[in-house]
């Protein structure tokens, strides 16, 4: 990993979210809530459509942070607020755009603030991570 400096804006990465990836995450995580898979059920409880697991979106951001850190083993803290649902219509790849800014650097760690956007809307808020450097 190159040296991180306060104020660095790290390159944006794009992750694709679709119905198949939600099913894969449901199976791997054990969270089989039907609002993440079943359109009729999601609509019956007042949602616009199927929505992604918040933890799936956070998990993708976790991959971004792990990549910045050089390894998932270097992620020491990671937090977020789930501000807007990621709506996933059938047969569509929804793009999640993730970027980060370095806000603090010490001898041993760096603190990042992360932005996660779908269709120009922030889907996560106050997303922060501490990585070991």
């Amino acid at each position: 990993m190159s040296t991180l400096k306060v104020g660095d804006v790290l390159p944006t990465k794009t992750y694709k979210i679709n119905r198949a990836s939600l099913i894969a995450y449901a199976n791997a995580s054990g969270d089989q809530n039907p609002i993440h898979q079943d359109e009729a059920f999601a609509k019956s409880v007042g949602l616009e459509n199927v929505i992604a697991h918040g933890m799936y979106t956070m998990g993708l951001v976790g991959q971004y942070i792990s990549n910045v850190a050089g390894s998932s083993s270097k992620v020491a803290e990671f937090s977020t607020r789930f501000t807007k649902p990621v709506v996933v219509p059938a047969d569509v790849d929804v793009e999640l755009h993730v970027s980060a800014t370095v806000v603090e650097v010490s001898e041993t760690s760096a603190r990042l603030e992360v932005t996660a956007l779908c269709n120009d809307v922030k889907v996560l808020g106050m997303t922060k991570a501490v990585i070991v450097i």
């Binding site: 956070m58 998990g59 942070i65």
Partner: protein, 127 residues
């Protein structure tokens, strides 16, 4: 509504989970990371959320009404295959806002009595 007497109480996990290489690999693959046995930073949720669900459902909250509000992890030691984890859950706070019940559960994932990962989940039970 959650019994206010439960706030601040810790519920010790009675069962332990042995982390398998397969479970980490499947979780990582679902996040787009193939062929790894290093747990992604959010992997602890596969242990903590199930315990929180059983605790809060057992306390009378309706899991069908739940939305994830906030999530935080502090990772002291990365989870790896073969680790035997017990999970203690503490209801740190519970409040009602506009009829929605907002509960924060802290989950301590322990290996041999040492805290490997702490997970805080703030869950919103919609009115």
């Amino acid at each position: 509504m959650l019994n206010p007497d439960l706030v601040g109480r810790t519920f010790e996990g009675v069962t332990s989970t042995t982390i398998s290489a397969e479970s980490i690999a499947a979780f990582a693959l679902a996040l787009g990371e193939p062929e790894t046995t290093l747990a992604p930073p959010t992997f602890a949720i596969t242990i903590s959320l199930e315990q929180s669900q059983s605790l809060l459902e057992g306390s009378g909250l309706d899991w069908n009404r739940v939305v994830h509000g906030d999530q935080k992890f502090v990772i002291n030691k990365q989870l790896t295959p073969g680790m035997v984890i017990t999970c203690n859950s503490t209801i740190e706070s519970a409040r009602v806002v506009a009829g929605n019940e907002i509960v924060t559960v802290r989950s301590d994932l322990l290996e041999s009595g040492n805290v490997a990962v702490i997970s805080w989940s703030t869950l919103v039970f919609r009115a």
